[in-house]
Every structure is written in C-alpha cells, then in structure tokens.
Symmetry: C2
Subunit: 669 residues, 2 copies
C-alpha cells in the first residue's frame, strides 16, 4: 500500500483567506520566500552550483549543507507556485527556480554525481565519508525538490538529473560485491527515495532506500566491522579519535546517528533528534509500503518520555538530541534544552505517517502540538526571522532572540517547505472503489477538493480554531459514493456539564460512534446530510486557559499555561519588572487565569493574552546557613512579592523586541 504524502496531495486543499494558517502561508509566500532567496544569493548558496570557488569554503565545513539549503527552498517555492496568488512576486520566484534548476543540472558530473563540496572543494573524495559529510542528505533534499518541481512544471528538467544520480548511487551502494556497504550519517535520502519510488515506481530507488535502512547499524557490515569504523580506517583515521567538531560525546558513539544497532533492535530513542525523526519517518514509509493499516506500533510511546510539553524534542545541546528519559530542563541555563525546529517538523512528519498506519487521535494531538508551537514558533510573524532552538526558557547566555539566518541553515527553509505543503497535513483520504473515507486531523477554515468517480468531492470546514470552539462542515460529493468522515476529538477537550466532550448537529441516529479519539460520521449520516451544515462543537471550557505540569519524573516542579492546542509563555515586553528570566517567579495551581483579546499588528489578527497572578520569591537561599541544603522550617520566612504575569502564545514569542526574558514553565508555589 502506498503512503499518501502531504507533499503529493497538499494541492487538494484550499485555505480560506482569513483563516489562521492562510494568513501565515501568505506571509511565507510574500516575505519568507523572497527574503530567503536574497539570503541564498548574498551568502553564495544560490550561485554555488556554478561550481566556482567561494571564500566560505575555507571555513571548514560551513558550506557542506548548501545543496540542501537550496533544495529545501526550491521545494518550498514550488508548493506555493502551484497555487494561484501573488502574481508579481511569483514571477521572481519562478525565475529563480528555473535558473537554479538549470544550474543544478549543469553541475552534474557525466556519471550522474551531483554535490557542490565534493566537486569544488574535495574533488576525488566523493563517498569517502558518508558518516559526517551530509553528501546523501543533500541528494535527498534535491530529490524532494525535483518531485514537486516535476509535479508543478510538468517537465523533467530537475527530475531527470536526480534519476541519473539515483542510478549512480544504486551502482555505488548495496550488498553486492564491489559496492560500498554503507549508509548516510544523516538520514533524508531514504525518505526522498521512497517517495520517488511511490510516485514513479523506480525500483532502484526502493532497493537503495531499503538497503540504507536495513543495513544501518549492522555491527559486522564491512569485513566484520561496523561500516563507520571501516570507513574511518579507510580514510586513515584513528578510530579511537572522535570526529572533528564536538557533537560526539565519545569515540564511535554511533547512537548519535541511530546506527549503533539495527533500528528494530533499538529499545529507546537516542542521539541527534532530527536524524532520529528522519530515520523513523523512512522506516514508517518502508513499513507502509509493505503492509496495510496496522495496530499502534508504539513509536511515539518511545519518546514521549523525551518530549517537551511544547512538542519540542532533544534536551542536549552537544549532540542536538535526546537525553535520558525525562531529562527535560527548560533552558541551557538549567541543564539543557535544544528542541530544534527541524526536529519538531520531523515529529509532525512522523505523526502524520503514524495516522496513516494507525488512526489514533494521540498522533494528531502531537502533530498539532508540534505544528502550533515549535514549528510555527520557528518563524517570526513577519516570516523573516527564525529560531533554530526552541528553549522553554531563556537565560543570560541564551536570551530569547530570533535570527534572519544561520550558518547551518537547515531550519528556515524547512519551515518554508512545511508551510508550503501544509494543506496535506489537515486531512487524509482513502478511496476504495465506491467507499471513501476522509480523516480530519486539523481544524482550520479550508476546502478539500479532489476528483472522485462520478465528479468532484468537496469537504469544507469553517472554524476560528485555535481560538474558537466550533467547526462546521459541508460535504458535496456524488451520491454514488459511500462516504465516511472521521473527526478528531483532541485529548485536551474538556467536557460539557453533562459529561459529553462535544455535540454534533444535526445529531446522528441512533448514536455517535467513535474510535481512538476520532468521531465517526457513517455513510448513512453523510448521505443524509450531504450539502448540509454539520456542526461539531466543543465545550467553551475546552478553549479556556488551563494549567499543565511536566511529568514529575522530569523533576520539573513547574506549572505551564495552555489554551487549546497552544502553549503559552511570558515575555519581558509584557512583564517589564522581570529581571531573571522569570526564574524566581512562582504560580500556584489555584491561580486565576484570565484571558483577553489582543491585536497583532503584523498579521492584523486578534489573539488571546492570558494573565495569571503569581509571586516573586526571594529565596536568598545561601544565606540561611552554610549547608548546601536548607532547613525546610526556615522556608516559611521566605519573602514573596505579588506579581501579575501576562502570557502570550509560545509561537508568538520574540516578535516584539524586548530584553530576551521568556519562560514557559513557572515554579510551582
């Protein structure tokens, strides 16, 4: 069974102009695409495929990812070009895409090889360091760009070079004699190859991806040795030495790349979080290709002990990845917090895949959580500034501050392409003969529309999500189809007074059925109410501010504020009195949360601010005796000053200047 990809069906969705996501996608189209194009040009990335020397190449490995930076931008650009919209702006983008396509094709070697670094800088050393140098990661992003390029332009100008490269890779890597028995340090090519196969049936791509995934972590892969060890020795490196750069905590720590053992034998998730996500996504695709919907595979359970309540993953700065279970400090100044934007995009990708394998609201909850908080928060309201790390609290060494770009620029264009394909995340559909099922995962005013036997299906949803508590649906489809619609019920929904989590009108008869947090509108219901407004309403309580805590095993004795799918944070710009990144500010579980409407001038939209009463605690701990531990009886005399704390959505942080003080989890009084 073929997976369905947001990248492949995003164009079935049209966002209502004034909806939450339409506004943001419009900003990406009007601002982000252009701003990032300018940066690609000014930093040398744009012209790099012309294969001339660039001064950055002197600076170690800074330019290693340039192919992928361009690839991700190209991919994002094509999603937006595929829609009607900003004609004048699109012309600029369209021309750049065409020029880049031509440059990329021109940079290809006769034998199909294609990579800037190993053509211009390290000629002759291609495929000698798969572990560290992102060669195949770059290829993967170029293939992903080629797939949407082909879909949009309906030509092969980018896809053909990539197919030629795939052929070279297939000749180079694999189990056979004379081939390299290896796989990349940073997964991505696997995702690209499997989607290429899914679209084109290219079996080379499938074989190669399957080999990369299943060979990974083979401890005896090359003459009885781990491939990365054999590869390092081949380069003349001492295997007792850690590679340059400081990411590996110990020598041969192959768990950094999830290659310490075969993926099916890995009991927990470890190492670099983006690599882990991309690998798991590829595994999910491979599984999907070989089976039908199955039971919960438990993938997410493995790392819920390693996920922040913002949907961020990865607490450890050094290897940009996971710590031990429940090790989730809020900031660098409190022991670590990384939560890379790309990793949360990886979480979204994996959640979407899991929903296809096992339709369970728990995956949709995580998808929504990562989307509204860490992924959306990775970009500023004006679409021109970004975050690489998504700390839950700032500290003096890492104040809250957005940047227009990064040397290692994976995150900004990853946000661009994710918003480009966003329509594909809202819902998924399965057609089997005259049976059709639509699963609605995310609520936002939009129309899903695609061709079906006998005409066009259109499902419209209308809502003020994430602020409001109702969603209305209108279905228009040929009467010959038996249509099931499944509507997600968030786990955070609060019940009405009668204990029900939602109402549906018109009400179905005999009664509502649901499965794994999806409400099922059966074919008899949908045929009865075709072209009729159907309303799903949640209790007003569902969209009132609520308090969250971290799991007690995290040792985070904190309270955080959420409202619907949004996590909230406090910033100094609303709380001028703050001096210490809110470290000394506590709230109690009895604090009264009040919300009020505020206006964002950039997007011209209303949103909700929340206030809570708290106290500033003057611990003066070390003065209460010279013991590092303090007598609890003396704690009663600690001085406390009342403060009023204003909270804004976490994604909204860092948009209004300020002194860089920000916090999600407040000490619990």
């Amino acid at each position: 069974m073929n997976p369905s990809y947001p990248q492949e069906n995003f164009h079935h969705t049209t966002f209502a102009t004034s909806s939450f996501w339409a506004k943001r996608r419009s900003i990406v189209r009007k601002n982000t695409l252009h701003a990032q194009l300018e940066i690609l040009k000014s930093t040398g990335r744009y012209d790099a495929f012309r294969l001339k020397w660039h001064p950055t190449y002197e600076e170690g490995y800074k330019a290693l990812f340039w192919d992928s930076d361009v690839g991700k931008w190209l991919e994002g650009a094509c999603y937006f070009l595929a829609e009607k919209g900003d004609e004048e702006g699109d012309k600029v983008i369209d021309e750049a895409v065409k020029e880049l396509t031509s440059m990329i094709a021109g940079a290809q070697w006769e034998d199909g090889y294609l990579n800037i670094h190993f053509t211009v800088v390290k000629t002759g050393l291609r495929f000698t360091n798969l572990r560290d140098l992102h060669e195949l990661y770059n290829a993967g992003h170029l293939i992903e760009a080629a797939l949407i390029h082909h879909q949009h332009y309906k030509n092969n100008l980018l896809l053909d070079p990539m197919l030629k490269y795939v052929l070279l890779m297939h000749t180079t890597f694999g189990p056979g004699p004379g081939k390299i028995h290896g796989y990349p340090g940073h997964p991505e090519i696997e995702l690209a190859l499997l989607r290429l196969y899914s679209r084109t049936g290219n079996t080379h791509a499938y074989e190669l991806a399957k080999y990369f995934i299943t060979e990974r972590g083979n401890l005896l892969g090359v003459k009885g040795q781990h491939f990365y060890l054999a590869e390092a020795k081949q380069r003349g490196e001492d295997p007792g030495q850690r590679p340059a750069g400081d990411a590996w905590p110990t020598a041969n720590a192959f768990w950094y790349q999830q290659a310490h053992k075969p993926i099916l034998e890995q009991e927990t998730i470890k190492g670099h979080s983006v690599r882990a996500m991309y690998l798991l996504n590829a595994v999910a695709d491979l599984v999907h290709l070989s089976r039908t919907r199955e039971e919960d595979s438990g993938e997410f359970e493995k790392y819920k002990t390693k996920m922040y309540l913002t949907g961020g993953i990865g607490a450890i700065d050094q290897w940009e990845g996971f710590g031990i279970d429940f090790f989730l400090p809020q900031s660098t100044g409190e022991g670590g917090c990384y939560a890379e934007t790309c990793a949360s995009i990886g979480v979204m990708m994996l959640a979407e895949r899991m929903l296809q394998l096992d339709l369970d609201g728990k995956y949709a909850d995580i998808l929504e959580l990562a989307l509204y908080n860490t992924a959306l928060g990775g970009m500023s309201q004006n679409g021109k500034e970004f975050l690489y790390e998504n700390h839950l609290a700032s500290c003096s060494k890492r104040p809250m501050k957005r940047e227009s770009w990064f040397d290692c620029a994976c995150c900004p264009p990853n946000v661009t392409r994710t918003f480009g394909m966003l329509g594909g995340y809202l819902w998924s559909s399965i057609v089997k003969g005259k049976d059709l099922e639509i699963d609605v995962h995310l609520y936002n005013s939009a129309v899903l529309s695609f061709e079906v036997p006998g005409g066009t299906l259109s499902l419209k949803q209308d809502t003020n999500w994430p602020w409001g508590n109702t969603v209305t649906f209108t279905l228009d489809a040929p009467s010959s189809l038996d249509i099931t619609i499944k509507l997600r019920i968030p786990s955070w929904a609060q019940p009405f007074e009668n204990g029900e989590l939602f109402t549906l009108s018109p009400s179905p008869i005999p009664s509502l059925k649901s499965s794994k947090s999806y409400l099922i509108l059966t074919p008899s219901y949908t045929s009865l109410y075709r072209n009729t407004l159907v309303t799903l309403a949640f209790s007003p309580l569902t969209f009132q501010p609520r308090l969250l805590r971290h799991h007690p095993s995290t040792n985070q004795n904190t309270l955080s504020i959420a409202r619907g799918p949004l996590i909230y944070c406090a910033e100094d710009i609303d709380n001028e009195w703050v001096e210490d990144h809110f470290k000394s500010v506590a709230i109690s579980e009895d604090t009264k949360l009040e919300e009020y409407v505020a206006q964002d001038t950039i997007l011209g939209e209303d949103f909700m601010k929340i206030t809570a009463s708290g106290v500033k605690v003057e611990d003066a701990g070390t003065e209460k005796g010279s013991f590092p531990g303090f007598d609890i009886v003396r704690e009663k005399s600690v001085k406390k000053t009342d403060v009023q704390i204003v909270f804004v959505p976490y994604f909204y942080r860092g948009n209004r200047g300020g002194r860089g003080h920000m916090r999600v989890g407040f000490r619990r009084l």
Copy 2:
C-alpha cells in the same frame, strides 16, 4: 606565615578508643591497610617499581596512576605506624613500607627522574604530555608519602630521592630559556611542593610550585600559544582533535583542567572536580605563605551553587566534574550525579585551609558535611569496600553497590590517608609567644596534646557526637600561657526555648562572645577554669531529625532528612516494598520524623535510624492524554498509597547487601 597541615600535626591528637572516629580509624588500620596492600600486590602495583613489564601495560592507560596509588597507601600507612596500636599488623605494614621505599629509590634514574610508565612503557617520552598523563601528579603523591615517611622513620630513604627529583623538575620547568613553560593537567605536585617547602625550606620546591600555579592558564605561554596546544602540536597531534578517552566534551576544552585562563581570572568553578579542588588547595597554600589571616576570600561561595547537600561536588559523569550553577540531579538516571569521593576529600582539604585563612564556621560546616557523608561514605563499615561516586540516588544502570577496588584507584587509598591524618582536622592551634589559640572545628572524644613553653598543653574533649548534644572540655596547660579557645557553633544548631543556640557551663562573666560562628573562650575564662570540666551543650532539638530541601533553582522539588551533621538516605534493605529506587515515593513537609536506636554489628555501635511516613504515587502520567504535559486538574485523581520509610545515615548505605535501591532526596508531596 606557614600553613599548618593536618599531615604535619595529626600526631598531636589521640582519639578516645570508643569514639566515633577512633572506631573507624581502627578499622582502617586493621582492615583497610592490609586489604589494600594485598590488592596493590595482586594487581601488580606493588612490584611495579621493580620496572618489569606487566600485562596491564598493554591495556592503554590503565597503569598510569600506579605510582600515586602506591604513594597514597604509603602515606596512609605511615600515619598509622606513627601511632601505638596493632603491633602484629603494624609489622606487616612496616615491612611493606620499607620494601616499597627501597624499590622506589631503586627505580630512580641517574638524573633524578622517577616514574613507572615513562621508564618501562614509554621510555624517552618523559615530560611530553603533561596535560593528560599524570606524570607530575604521581610525583606529588610520592613527595607527600616521603614527607610523612621522613617524619616517622627519621631517615631520608624516601625523601632524598624525591628531593633529587625536585631538583630535576626545577631544571626542567620554569620561565627561563630552554625550560618547559608548562604545568600538569592534574594538580597535586603543587600541594606536595609547597608542603615540602614549608617543612624543609627547599626554595626549588617553592619556585616550582609557584610557577606551576601562576603559569597555569597563560593563553600565550609558549610562543604565543597555550602550553597545552603547543605541547600537543609538539607531539604531532591535530589540535582540533580531542584527546583519547572521552572526558573532554570539546576540543581544547582547557577548562576541564581549570587551565582555560589564569586562576585569578576564573569567575566560576568548572571542569574536573578533583583537579579543581587540588588546584584551589595549592592556591590557598600559596596565599597562606605570603600573608597572614585575612578576610573571607569567598572561595566557597563560588561553588556552593555546585555542591550537593551531602557535601559532594560534580554532577557530570563525562568529565567527572561540575555542571552549570544549580545543576544537581540526584542520579545518573535523572541527568547526572558524580560526587567523587576524592573530590569531597578535596573539599575537606580546602575547608581546613580556609579555616586557617579566615576562621568562619561556614567552612567548618562544609568540612564536617563532606567528612561525615561523602568522605566517610566512600568506605564501607568494614573498611574493605569503597565508592568512587557518591550518587544521591541509585538507578537501574547504577545500583547502589560498593567495590573492593577500581581500575582507576584514586579514591580508596585517598580515604586511607585522610583517616590517617584525621586528628589534624579536629582542631588547629596558633602559638604567638605566650598567646596560644586553639580553634576546635570538629567534635569527637579526643585529646590534643603538644609541647608548649613551660610544659605540655592538653585539651581533652568528650562527646557522643554526631549522636549527642553535649561536648565537655578539660584544659591542662602551664599557667604562664594566655589561652584562647574557640568552639564552633554549627549553622544547623536549633535554639533552646529561650532562643539561645547553646549553653556553656560554668558560664563566663560578663558574657559570651562569638565571632563567625565560633564561641570565644577568652584567656580570663580559660585561666579561671583550667583543669575544670567545661560543658558546651546544644538544644536537644539540634540533634532531632530535620527536613532539608535543595535550593529551588536546582529544580529539585525534594525533601531530604538530616540529623546533626548527618544526611540520611533510604535503602531497599529497610524498605522491602521499594521497586523503583524510591522515584515514585513522596513525603510532605508535615511528615512526622521518628528516630530509634539501631545497632551496627560490624562496628558494634549504636546509631539512629529514622522513620517517616510517605506515599507511593502512581502517576500513570502518560495515560492522562497524549500531550507530554498533563492537565493539572487531573492530577487530583492520582492514586497514592501510604508507606512507612526507614532512613539510615547516608554514609551507612551499601553495607548490608540488598537490591541496590537508595535515595536521599524524596519527591515533595
């Protein structure tokens, strides 16, 4: 002004036979010295100075510290030999000391050089890697052994070779042309050299130590480069590579050795905790040699934010050292805890030195805390098993378990020598003409006795410390002396009903004076009550169990139990129901603490166990919705089961078998 060293004046103290510390010192003498001698022999360390090949030398750097292992044992042995005691056992120890002395002298090169590794294994590479290979650290411990050897045997058989080695070092290292402008990666030689100078007036030793201390961290020391960089390049190493072994988190992380900048410019304490302590001790000695008593230098304030409430320091396993401020998780399974035994011994050493520079009870509190908890706890009750790390909680990967020895064996013989010189930690004395001051830092039944003008001074203290609340003193001294006695008042003392922290009888007239938590018995008082029983009594409350918390900035929302200077912990052997290292067990600040007398069969002594009522909390966190954060309103329904928890002193842990579950800080309910 010369520092006074516990190593130099320990023999002025005679412990009362049945006192807390006498029992433990007797165990060290009867068990530990012999058990460690057997291990030195069976592992090859004892005979290593015969300079024959040993199979361990094939195993990388395992034998690098062997000189110091022998040196520390030698030092410890001599302290005990200097006292009357176990005649038969002492004969064995005495013979071994003599044989080792002869072997060490025989292993010296013609030019004075003395080191096993660079004689047998890496001949010709001496002094080419001061940064990593512990060459001078080894020399330091041999010098420390030689000083007590000389004092006890009154011969130069060990001291002369070491003086010859010092001469070679003085020719080799220093600011002059042709000399190595370097210093060791692991301080220790500095301490040894300064004490050698203090005893013998050897100016080479002084110059060398001062050079090592002040040159350390010079960023431009060798041809405009940091010495460690220049040294690495000299060895043909790539400075971008981290050294073998995994301790350095990043390349050229010279803060690991506190050599990233000159010590006076270091604003916080970082890196390997034992190195840090030894360096600071050497700095304190250098300061002491150049001045008289001064104001609080604030040394301890720097790292109270990095000290566990047990007196342990160092949260990070990788570099056996400090994390950021307030990063103090309780176990490896909760993010890290190291708290090496040697580091706590370093804390004791530094606290004792600080008391000489600035008599303030806060240093004595820390001295006592580290002594009774992490240092004492580093050895089992029978003196034959040890702990390298002093976690505050066990976890499945690091269950609570003692070992008879370690490959890297720094801690066991460090405990031995510390108990050997323990008498020197109890009190210090300053004689100026006919003015004499005795500062009593630690309470334990013992007699201080030394020659003074006109006869012998003797100060006897009698107490059941750390269990009882009174200490009695009897002073006998020539009446010609004006004697001031200062008695420490612990910061954890709880007041009597009238608000006083203690009573003294007979009462002084007009009134008591005290300064920085030391009660001052003036010459007029001590002359009045010479040969009279003087009693210092604390409130019974002072020795009742009390609750401590970690500083809130540690994010440790825990309660711990203390009683007097002792921190308590719970173990599975007293709490058979425990299954999860007490992670799910919570106590409230209202819990009733009750104590009762228990008997230790090994030492045949009574001690106090404490019980507290708590609850086992079944969080089932992840089932309360798929969000990583949980609604606080749902927390109320969490299941709680009452449990009774039995606590024993932290030092007592791991002495009675069991399943390895142990914890100090319990979740706060």
